[in-house]
Amino acid sequence: MKVNVLFFGATADLVGSRAFETSLPETSVAADVISLLRAKYPNLRDRKLLVAVNEQYVGENTRLSNGDQLAVFTPVSGG
């Protein structure tokens, strides 16, 4: 399956891009995407990262589906 990952703020700067599309095995979970990103972007390795799937926060063990829109980001700092 394919998923799209969005980046914002510090995460976009660390990654050097604002989106990333990737193919994953059918049984992948959110944590697999984090591992893949940390492998691909060493800047992310020591950062706390949160994951949203289709605009909802999810836990690391949440199963992904084809076409999911992910966002992976550092802790928010609005206000």
Partner: protein, 144 residues
């Protein structure tokens, strides 16, 4: 009636706090956050706010719904500004209207604390000698 909005335009405080005034209410508590020039001796030049907009709107609505369950309040209005903000410009206004002031104070304080923890918006501080994306405290975010 309640609203959570994102805007790149300057925010007029009264237009947020008085857009809706329910007839059973007697007090509105408003938090108005703006760009601080000096943090101790360090000088800020400006701020930049960026949001994951569709998710921020959803998370903002969730906060409002939760606040209305947990506090005896009638109306919540929140506007968060995005983009580049100069010193003194308002980044956020949270207004809570209630029949009595105590619930309005409590809800407003809860809303800003939760917003800073859960709504996907990020702040970059630009100083004379560099810039930094501020990292929040994301402990215990409730996940689906």
């Amino acid at each position: 009636m309640d609203f959570f909005e994102l805007t790149t335009d300057p925010i007029d405080i009264t237009s947020v706090s008085r857009r809706v005034v329910p007839l059973e209410c007697g007090a509105t508590v408003t938090l108005d956050g703006y760009v601080r020039k000096f943090t101790k001796d360090r000088e800020t030049l400006h701020l930049v706010y960026e949001a994951y907009e569709p998710m921020a709107l959803k998370e903002g609505q969730k906060l409002i719904e939760q606040a209305k369950k947990d506090f005896e309040i009638s109306h919540v209005a929140i506007v968060h500004r995005l983009g580049k903000l100069e010193i003194g410009e308002t980044s956020i206004v949270i207004s809570v209207a209630a029949p009595h002031r105590k619930a309005a104070f409590a809800a407003c304080e809860w809303l800003i604390r939760e917003l800073k923890r859960t709504v996907p918006i990020w702040k970059k501080e630009v100083f004379a000698d560099g810039e930094v994306w501020v990292e929040g405290d994301a402990a215990d975010i409730k996940t689906a």
